[in-house]
């Protein structure tokens, strides 16, 4: 694992007894001694601290806001200072190159992109925008769960007044932080950008709070899946459009047909047409009967026997909070919620019901 990168928290992970695995070119903690199940439940019950420093952080000058808007089907020009918005880079075929967060800090824009895509994203940004500034010396922590506010406010009282998708700069003992009220677990919580030289110290200060436990990538995955959130490279990629992925909610009216800034992003023809007419397939939630998980790659069929597959599971596993299996799959859009389909697991077709997502309700602080 010599060519793998390490985050600024590597020593802390090892000290805490984490099991380290390769992930997106980094050595990352997949779980701590608590284990995936208890880490998941702890995050939903109290507060979990996640190292997400492998993700890319990038500054984009404010005068590039229109150029950035031309890369995403999202209203970036309409983003207010102190607010954050979910977005995705699209390609000319209307597929998704990556999903990201765009933050308006008042004097600059700041993006957070996926680790596996960050080099390509930065090249993409630099090809279309000027003054793009990657921030390789900053780390990112996520503090998630119902006690996240209490734990973070014990260090920085000002964070309590942030609302969901709100963002501000903070000073912590001389370190410049950018904190947003957001996350990837469906829980209330924060993402905290911190200079890497101070990340170990900040993580230890947060872990000193009795409500906070370190949480690995394993529970991060089950938490986001229960919350119906997409994982890039699995549930969304260059072959899936945002409309098929059920992400139309992130495409504001102003960028749609008839809007003041209609289209003008890569793949607009397909994406606008799908918004008008509906897509042929849709990312759907599946609730398998029984306890057997339907994992990524499981083929979905319309009936208990015969026929060709109608879709494939893109993410699937066991939801500790819902105490049962759950999966996402792209299925023909005319199949309604409540319909029964069949996943082929180890040669056996097991029934599953199409259900609305999230599997576990969100509890954002709006």
């Amino acid at each position: 694992m010599t060519d793998l990168k390490r985050t600024g928290l590597y020593d802390l992970h090892v000290e805490l007894g984490a099991k380290m695995v390769p992930f997106a070119g980094y050595e990352m903690p997949v779980q701590y001694p608590l284990g995936v199940l208890k880490e998941h439940l702890h995050t939903r019950a109290a507060a979990g601290l996640f190292d997400v420093s492998h993700m890319g952080q990038v500054l984009v000058p404010l005068d590039q806001i229109d150029a950035l808007e031309a890369l995403v089907p999202v209203s970036v020009a309409g983003l207010k200072p102190g607010r954050q918005r979910y977005a995705f880079f699209t390609n000319d075929a209307g597929g998704i190159l990556d999903d990201l967060m765009i933050t308006h800090l008042g004097d600059t824009l700041m993006l957070v992109v996926n680790a596996a895509c960050k080099d390509a994203d930065i090249a993409h940004l630099q090809a279309h925008l000027s003054g793009v500034q990657p921030l390789p010396d900053r780390s990112l922590l996520a503090l998630q769960g119902p006690q996240a506010e209490e734990a973070l406010a014990s260090l920085l009282p000002g964070v309590a007044k942030l609302e969901f998708m709100g963002v501000d700069r903070f000073q912590w003992d001389g370190a410049d932080l950018v904190i947003s009220r957001s996350g990837y677990t469906g829980e209330d919580g924060y993402e905290i950008s911190v200079p890497t030289v101070r990340v170990d110290e900040l993580a230890r200060a947060l872990l000193a709070h009795p409500a906070v436990e370190a949480i690995g990538l394993g529970a991060r995955d089950s938490l986001r899946l229960e919350s119906g959130l997409c994982l890039y490279g699995h549930d969304i990629d260059t072959t899936t459009s945002p409309v098929e992925a059920g992400l139309s909610w992130a495409i504001q009216k102003i960028r749609r047909k008839g809007g003041a800034r209609e289209g003008g992003f890569p793949g607009a023809a397909r994406i606008l047409a799908e918004l008008e007419n509906g897509p042929a397939r849709l990312r759907r939630g599946l609730k398998p009967e029984g306890r057997a998980p339907m994992r990524e790659g499981v083929e979905i069929f319309a009936g208990p026997e015969g026929g060709a597959p109608i879709g494939t599971v893109t993410s699937g596993g066991f939801g500790p909070s819902i105490e049962g299996p759950m999966a996402m799959a792209y299925l023909p859009a005319d199949l309604p919620v409540g319909a029964t389909v069949y996943g082929e697991v180890r040669g056996k077709r097991l029934p599953a019901t199409i259900v609305p997502m999230p599997f576990n309700p969100h509890s954002y602080k709006r």
Binding site: L37, A292, P293
Partner: protein, 119 residues
Amino acid sequence: MKFTEEHEWLRVEGDLVVVGITEHASEQLGDVVFVELPETETKVATGDEVCVIESVKAASDILAPVDGEIVEVNEALSDNPGLVNEDPLGGAWFFKMKVEDMEQLDAFMDEDAYKEFIG
């Protein structure tokens, strides 16, 4: 008790062999969330896939350690798969086999050899 290289334990109970997985295996698997048990009165040969264990991470198989017939399965695991993590050497046995040739067990490791095997 005997141990296999597939991290199963075998305990002789009269003319039956009780099969489970070791503590080491249960730790490596992580939290178990689903167990698929075999049918009873099934004849199996060494190496046949007999059970499936799904943990929060992945699915893995339990192989028949010897030739024989499955005569009893631990239904408690269907309702409470977490037993595999809580009590792997006791309450979380998977199945009992009728084995004609008990000498098949002689080839397996004893506890000391298994401890050395897992390092």
